[in-house]
Each structure stands twice: as structure tokens, then as C-alpha cells.
């Protein structure tokens, strides 16, 4: 359980890191190390070069842009957890991040690392899918933006070239007072979720749903937006029956099976987790529009 030999680099600028990546098809970027270090220890990866990007100051930071937040790739999960602007602009992300690993791993783990690793049930890519985030990537040749909908190319594989790196992610704002809910099912707190769901919702003056985003993770190879459920609920009041029926459509997601759970069980969890996420979002959305007595707050 020791990392294999490699050549270590620790550039201090993005330009230097991209230069090292360019033309090198067996290099790995070392971000927070909470996934790459175990993969090295288990020798799932045998890179010739490890490019440590922890000393690149320009990759960290949380910035409020016109329409949302832009968060640098090397921003620690801890800094997202304790950020007031994240809580204000994207409370879904704050709720999700509390379920990312443990304090010891969030102190080191980064947003960009989680996005690039793209574990099927990872929380931050789920939030990115729920909010229609944009992933900013760069290579020595230039920069480009990838819509989250196009970002997963397959199981743990982002739609990026070998010489590209994630530099940041932009999360568009939802209107102030929107409802949100992030729930997951894991065997133990902090474990990888077997299935998780994220919901964002706004209600109109009559209390009917006028905008909804529903994402389920850990079922397919990457987070999936549940468009059928979303379409079903527009214009509806978020009654228990309506949310249950919408959650039921998530059973149709093409599901993986592994040692942790069968595909049937994952599909079942998709219906339950999505219903719970929608229920939480609806209560919070209602709390702020005053349509029901819910508080808009809570755990």
C-alpha cells in the first residue's frame, strides 16, 4: 500500500501546470489527494509524473459573479462548508457538502478534485448537475467551458482531454428564497452514498411549482436530471401524492449494480431519495412564500 515511483512537480502557476500536462499522456494532477492518493496506494494508477497543484494560489477562491458563484478548482471543501456566500447563494451546496466525507477529508479535498474524479455518487457533481453549472477547463492551447449536462462522458470520466484541467466551476443562482433539498442514503455517515438526490424548487403566488430541478446520483454512471419528474410537476401544487408520483418516474433510470446494491434496489432508492429531496425543497420554498406554515430552514 505505498505509492509507486513517479516524478513529482509542484508548479506555482496554472500556465506551468498546463505546460507540464501538455503532450504528457501519463501524468496525474494531484489536487486534495483524497481520491488520487488511495488510487496510488492501491496502484490503480501508475503515473510517470504527478503534478501537485496545491501551490497554485490562483486556483482557489469563491467569487460572486453577476449571476452566481464562481469557485476555483482548488478551493477546499472546508472553505465551501464555512462560506457565508455559499450559504446565501447556494444553500443546496452547503447541505450537500456536509455529507462529503468527513472533516479530515474536507480539510484537504477540493471542488475541482471531486469534479475531475467524477464518482457516480459524489455530492459536488450532483450539485453541479442540479444547478446547471458550467465547468471551466484549460489546456496549454486555451480555455473552454463545458455545460454540466455535457460534462460526464461515462463512468468516472469527464469529457476532457488528457492535457486539460478543471480550473473552476460556475454555479448559477436560483432566486432568493428558493427551496432546496439534498438527501442521500449511505451505509454510514460520510461513506460514499449508494444513492442521493438534489432538488431545487420555486413556487408561484398560488403555491404551485413554477420551476424545479431534480437530480439523482449513484444510480447511473453519472448524476442524472430527472426531466420526466420535472415536467410532471410544473404547474402542480407540491402535494404528497404529486411528489410521490413524480419520484416514481425515477425508477426508470438505467441503474448500475455492484457489491453495495443491486440495480433494482438503486431504482427503489431513487424514488425514495428523490421524493425526500423534493419534499424538503417544497417545504422550504413554501416557507419563504408564506403559502404554508413551513419554516424554510432546517436540517
Amino acid at each position: 500500500m505505498k505509492p509507486p515511483p513517479f516524478t513529482y512537480h509542484d508548479p506555482s502557476t496554472v500556465a506551468e501546470a498546463l505546460e507540464l500536462l501538455s503532450g504528457n499522456d501519463n501524468a496525474r494532477l494531484l489536487a486534495g489527494g483524497q481520491s488520487l492518493m488511495p488510487m496510488l496506494a492501491m496502484r490503480f494508477v501508475l503515473p510517470d509524473d504527478v503534478i501537485d497543484i496545491n501551490n497554485i494560489a490562483e486556483l482557489s477562491g469563491i467569487e460572486v459573479t453577476g449571476g452566481g458563484l464562481r469557485i476555483g478548482a482548488m478551493t477546499r471543501q472546508r472553505d465551501i462548508e464555512f462560506s457565508d456566500v455559499v450559504q446565501q447563494h447556494c444553500p443546496l451546496m452547503r447541505e450537500a457538502i456536509l455529507q462529503v466525507g468527513h472533516r479530515q477529508t474536507r480539510n484537504r479535498g477540493t471542488l475541482g478534485g471531486s469534479m475531475a474524479h467524477l464518482d457516480p455518487s459524489a455530492e459536488l457533481p450532483t450539485v453541479a448537475m442540479a444547478t446547471d453549472a458550467t465547468i471551466h477547463v484549460a489546456s496549454a492551447k486555451g480555455t473552454r467551458d463545458i455545460a454540466m449536462a455535457d460534462y460526464p462522458a461515462g463512468y468516472m470520466t469527464p469529457a476532457m482531454e488528457l492535457d486539460e484541467m478543471v480550473t473552476g466551476v460556475s454555479f448559477p443562482d436560483w432566486p432568493a428564497g428558493h427551496g432546496y433539498g439534498f438527501v442521500e442514503f449511505a451505509r454510514r455517515h460520510g461513506d460514499f452514498a449508494i444513492t442521493s438526490a438534489a432538488c431545487l424548487m420555486t413556487l408561484d403566488a398560488s403555491g404551485a411549482i413554477d420551476r424545479i430541478s431534480l437530480t439523482v446520483s449513484g444510480v447511473g454512471p453519472a448524476p442524472v436530471r430527472c426531466r420526466d419528474a420535472e415536467a410532471m410537476l410544473i404547474g402542480q401544487h407540491p402535494s404528497e401524492d404529486a411528489l410521490k408520483a413524480a419520484g416514481e418516474t425515477c425508477r426508470a433510470i438505467d441503474a448500475m449494480a455492484d457489491v453495495h446494491a443491486s440495480s433494482d434496489y438503486r431504482q427503489h432508492l431513487a424514488t425514495v431519495m428523490s421524493r425526500r429531496a423534493m419534499t424538503a425543497a417544497a417545504a422550504r420554498a413554501a416557507g419563504t412564500t408564506g403559502a404554508t406554515g413551513a419554516t424554510g430552514k432546517g436540517e
Binding site: M1, G33, D52, Q104
Partner: protein
């Protein structure tokens, strides 16, 4: 051919410089180069929490860092927690008094994790303590004694403050 570098770190207030292979983990550096064997390795892949140290005051798993990444940083290991030769840290004393350990394998990680946690959250609920140590596996105690020790230590530390 191995890739080597010099690394200088402060551990428990003492500065050390060593030349090491760049692939050496911080955990192995602490144990095998500095011979501070209080930091334990259970899994070597980030699951058990036994190797938790404080890096500039924040808990981190030392098996998930390279030694060279600790260049210029301040590390606290379990050896650096006690108040003096004859005086344990109140958290250590509370572990002793509440049967917070049996074999002691998980204890260094529990202590470092809880030191950070109690600093950030001096008056936690039992549930919060359980979440705080959810990344530390203990195969002996069933966690009851550890949770009791953490709550007891919180009270002792609040009285001091």
C-alpha cells in the same frame, strides 16, 4: 532511479529536515523518518482515520499526503498533545477516565480529530460528536466510551476557558 527532495517541517514544535523520496507519504515520513510512531496506520488509503494529524491546526489524514507536500507546514501528532511530561491534555485525561480506549490503535486519530472539533465546537451534542468521529474507525470500544470522553473533555475545556 528515484525522485528525491529535501523537506523541512515543524512537528510538535521541533523543526526537522530530511531528504526523502517524493512518493513517501507524510504518515510514513512521520513514523519512519522521524520515528514518531504514535501516529498509526490502519488502512493506508484514507478510510480508518488512525493516521489523522493536525496540519496547521486542521485535521488531515497523513496517509493521503506526500511528505514533500508538508514543506514549511506545522504538524501536531499525538506525541505533541499532552501539556507536559506529567500532565495529559484534558481530552487525553477524559479518554482515560471514560474508558475511551481499549487497544489504543484508533486513539491517536480520535484525539487529533477531536482536538480540532472541540476547538471549533466547544459545546457539542452527542450527535455532533458522533458525526465528528464518523471518519475514525474503532474496532474495540463500540464508541460509547469515546463519545462519553469527548463530551466530558468538552466540559473540562469549557471550565478552563
Amino acid at each position: 532511479m528515484s525522485d528525491r527532495r529535501s523537506v523541512t517541517v515543524s512537528v510538535n514544535g521541533k523543526t526537522y529536515t530530511r531528504e526523502v523520496e517524493t512518493r513517501l507519504t507524510l504518515a510514513d515520513f512521520i513514523r519512519h523518518e522521524l520515528m514518531l510512531t504514535g501516529t498509526h496506520l490502519g488502512c493506508e488509503h484514507g478510510v480508518c482515520g488512525a493516521c489523522t494529524i493536525l496540519l496547521d491546526g486542521q485535521s488531515a489524514r497523513s496517509c493521503l499526503m506526500l511528505a514533500v507536500q508538508a514543506e514549511g507546514r506545522e504538524i501536531t501528532t499525538v506525541e505533541g498533545i499532552a501539556r507536559g511530561e506529567d500532565e495529559l491534555h484534558p481530552l487525553q485525561q477524559a479518554f482515560m477516565d471514560n474508558h475511551g480506549l481499549q487497544c489504543g490503535f484508533c486513539t491517536p486519530g480520535m484525539l487529533t480529530t477531536l482536538i480540532e472539533f472541540l476547538r471549533d465546537n466547544p459545546d457539542p451534542t452527542e450527535r455532533e460528536v458522533r458525526v465528528a468521529i464518523s471518519g475514525n474507525l474503532c474496532r474495540c470500544t463500540g464508541y460509547q466510551g469515546i463519545v462519553a470522553a469527548a463530551l466530558d473533555a468538552a466540559e473540562r475545556l469549557r471550565k478552563e476557558a
